[in-house]
Amino acid sequence: MSSAVVERRQRLRLLALPRPHVSERVRKALPYAGAGVSYVAAGVFVTEILLTWFAAFAWLLAWTWGLPTIARRMRRLRR
């Protein structure tokens, strides 16, 4: 393994936050809660664009599928 790769992995490890133990149910619900809170917070200021069904579906997909997928990939890269 090249030293550049080792160095990059070490840097990523330093960025890692301690992971508290959470149940499977909570882990599945957290992205939905995050999506809901952030959507309402942004939606009240940008009503015309955000409070449409298309934006809502895209927002929810981004939080519950997009972000966990990115997080998983980053975790895999760190190992």
Binding site: Y32, A35, G36, Y39, V40, G43, V44, F45, T47, E48, L50, L51, W53, A56, F57, L60, L61, T64, W65, P68
Partner: protein, 243 residues
């Protein structure tokens, strides 16, 4: 004109009908949104490249005849259901669309404009006049009026009913009662993982509950529109009528 009710009706219907009733959830949802999906932009107006597109008489266009008011009738629901059955032979989709469209019509009965329930046999509009329909104004005025009067209570009722139906949002219910009755989910499942399918399935309830919260906050925290829960309210808004 019900706002959040149309997003949540399909979940509650699904819960009421139970897992044994083969009906497409997507069809109910599309039916429930259908009558407004292609017309609302023209009702509230749209600006494209400096041009403004809007119906000259938004209320007449949306609910009347001549206009797109025929989409808010029980006969339209039956005809769409029949056409879909003839073309696709899918009972779950035909029934789902017909039920979804009918639910939309029935929940729009309550506002000041009403619907041509028995079109094409009659163009009489049936209305309970419970809250003011402000389709003739901008979307913001429409929202401000709706979330300041009995419309807000109507939507709150649907939000409570949807949250009480939380069991239909579980992954197990989706697998056993929703995806099972609709081949479209299996087709989508070839491209998307289950997490994404679940998010799509839960999307309308997410949209409904969140936009209810956001519009109420917008109308009464960011702005200060007056509440008026009396019959036909809010009376400060220019309520639309037909005829």
């Amino acid at each position: 004109m019900s706002w959040v009710a149309h997003d949540l009706e399909p979940y509650i219907l699904h819960r009421k009908l139970g897992p044994g009733f083969a009906i497409s959830f997507l069809a109910v949802l599309i039916g429930s949104w259908g009558p407004d999906m292609f017309t609302k932009w023209f009702v509230h107006g749209l600006n494209v490249a400096g041009l403004h597109f809007q119906a000259r008489d938004p209320v007449q266009f949306h609910r009347g005849w001549p206009g797109a008011g025929f989409t808010h009738s029980l006969a339209f629901a039956a005809v769409v259901g029949a056409i879909v059955y003839v073309v696709t032979r899918s009972r779950a989709w035909a029934l789902g669309l017909a039920l979804g469209l009918s639910l939309h019509v029935l929940s729009d009965l309550e506002d000041s404009v009403g619907v041509m329930l028995l079109f094409p046999f009659s163009t009489h509009t049936y209305s309970l006049g419970l809250w003011a329909n402000v389709d003739g104004g901008s979307r913001m005025l429409d929202a401000a009026a709706y979330y300041s009067g009995p419309g807000m209570l109507w939507d709150a009722l649907w939000v409570v009913a949807a949250l009480a139906s939380w069991r239909v949002l579980r992954a197990s219910h989706f697998r056993e009662s929703v995806a099972l009755h609709d081949g479209l989910w299996a087709r989508l499942g070839r491209r998307l993982p289950e997490d994404a399918l679940l998010a799509l399935y839960r999307g309308a309830v997410f949209y409904g509950v969140c936009r209810f919260t956001a519009w109420v906050l917008w109308a009464h925290v960011l702005n200060h529109h007056g509440f008026d829960f009396t019959w036909g309210g809010p009376h400060w808004a220019p309520a639309g009528h037909l005829g």
